[in-house]
């Protein structure tokens, strides 16, 4: 990957997401259920 530097998959959060324990806000918050 000579021309590409990867900095950092939302699909992974579909199955285990949605618990709603996170803080009311989106770009900088964290998940509180990990």
């Amino acid at each position: 990957m000579r021309r590409i530097r990867t900095l950092t998959n939302l699909k992974d959060t579909v199955k285990k997401g949605g618990c709603g324990e996170c803080q009311t806000s989106v770009g900088n918050q964290s998940c509180e259920n990990k």
Binding site: L7, T8, T13, T24, V26, G27, Q29
Partner: protein, 466 residues
């Protein structure tokens, strides 16, 4: 969907639907620019035969070989196979059923005082009164609100209560009583309250600061930046500026909280489009948690941000990002609310698509106990959802807010920022278009710029410079 942009010498590629971010050189950037709208096999013979000669011609002085290009196409194919490039949006088609989704109430904004000791020119609450009469929330109303929150929070443990106004410290005794009541409820009902306080600082004293440091997870201190800017917009009712009265108190709060769990929060208008000077003024005063945000006002207001102001504001955001990187390098960095972005973690896709939850998970409560979707709807009678005695009465309105998500807004469905913005602010949409599903365009343009700057800063910070 890819979003490609250049900022501060970085070529950045955001794979919108996965959240992956890549920094690429000029050759890869140009190839991706040609590939991004291409249908079918992006890396097949036809694609290569049309793209490679164009790129080799453009970079003929930089000895880019055909072998280089083959290698690059191979790398891009690998990234796509790994799910970090050209990812499809699979959330839209029924993965998340917003209509059937069970929502609970998890946060309240308590309007503890519809009264204020300042007369800020841009206040959407009209000197704290929200188009109504001056009023303070009683302990009884606040207690019913907390009971409602706990009863309607389902299995959610983390609950939030904002003490807001007006100026909440005009009703500080009730704030203290409600926090004490909340702590009792925590034990009885196995809940955790996260309290926050927003203040203009006029009534801050050692007792308030000690209490806030014990009980408030976050405290928001309203200050606009430079003294002359602040005093022009945030005078006392007799016209005198309030800057000198609050600045030392705010410094004391910031230091006593060890420079965390607070924000100094300012508003900029078209009267100070050089708002970067206000941000840096706050940083130079020693504040490390800073937010300075564009005013939300009707277009008839002389200080409202206009479409024509966007280029100069965006230029300011670029300048701010560069200055923040410079200061970070010098060991005197600070946080800017809109540039804080979590690229590798962050919330799940449900949260990213549904945003703040106003009107469903989050409600504002007036001093007399009426519920509104959020503090910016208070005073608009048609948005009254119910009250602390009867609960949510207007379920039709609640369900309209429940459907407030990225896919309900045509403009958002095709926007690269949708997973970092969540479809914008319903109140801004209402105040600009009288439609909670039609985003406020000026806000969108500024939000997109801020996200670009925030990602660029992450690229710079991971560049071995720091």
């Amino acid at each position: 969907m890819l979003h490609l942009y250049k900022n501060n010498g970085y070529n950045i590629v955001l794979d919108v639907n996965s959240g992956s971010v890549h920094v690429v050189d000029d050759v890869a950037y140009d190839v991706l620019d040609l590939l991004k709208d291409r249908e079918g096999d992006r890396y097949g013979r036809e694609s290569r035969e049309s793209i490679i000669p164009v790129i080799m011609e453009k970079y003929k002085d930089e000895s880019v070989t055909e072998q280089d290009m083959e290698e690059l196409f191979g790398d891009l194919r690998t990234l796509e196979e790994e799910g970090s490039l050209f990812t499809e949006d699979t959330y839209q088609d029924g993965v998340i059923d917003f209509k059937q989704r069970q929502t609970v109430v998890k946060a309240l904004c308590l309007h503890i005082a519809h009264d204020c000791n300042l007369a800020c020119r841009y206040c959407f609450a009209g000197e704290g009164e929200y188009k109504g009469d001056r009023s303070l929330m009683s302990f009884e109303v606040g207690k019913k609100a907390l009971d409602f929150l706990v009863e309607n929070s389902g299995s959610r443990r983390n609950l939030e209560v904002d003490f807001f106004g007006g100026e909440p410290l005009l009703n500080f005794d009730v704030v203290k009583q409600l926090v004490a009541y909340g702590r009792e409820l925590e034990k009885e009902r196995d809940k955790h309250f996260r309290f926050t306080l927003t203040t203009n600082g006029v009534l801050l004293n050692d007792d308030v600061i000690d209490f806030a440091n014990r009980e408030m997870d976050n405290i928001v201190l309203s200050i606009d930046g430079r003294k002359e800017v602040h005093d022009r917009m945030r005078p006392f009712k007799n016209g005198e500026g309030s800057y000198d009265y609050i600045i030392d108190k705010f410094k004391k709060v910031a230091e006593s909280r060890k420079q965390s769990k607070y924000y100094v929060r300012g508003t900029f208008t078209r009267e100070n489009l050089d708002f970067v000077k206000d941000v840096l003024s706050l940083a130079d005063q020693g504040f490390e948690q800073i937010s300075v945000e564009p005013v939300v006002a009707g277009p008839e207001e002389p200080y409202a941000i206009r479409e024509e102001d966007i280029p100069i504001i965006c230029q300011g955001y670029d300048e701010l990002a560069r200055e923040m990187l410079k200061r970070e390098k010098e060991g005197r960095g600070f946080n800017f609310f809109h540039y804080m972005i979590d690229l590798s973690g962050g919330p799940c896709v449900y949260k990213r698509l549904s945003g703040c939850g106003s009107g469903t998970e989050y409600l504002a409560v007036t001093p007399w106990g009426d519920f509104y979707p959020c503090h910016q709807f208070v005073g608009e009678e048609q948005f009254c959802l119910g009250n602390v005695d009867e609960g949510i009465v207007n379920t039709e309105l609640r369900d309209r807010f429940k459907m407030c998500n990225v896919y309900a807004k045509e403009e958002c469905r095709k926007c690269f920022a949708r997973f970092y913005c969540s479809g914008g602010c319903a109140a801004n949409a209402w105040h600009s278009h009288h439609d909670i599903h039609k985003p406020y365009e000026i806000g969108c343009k500024l939000q997109r710029k801020r996200i670009e700057c925030a990602i660029m800063m992450q690229a710079a910070c991971s560049d071995g410079e720091f």
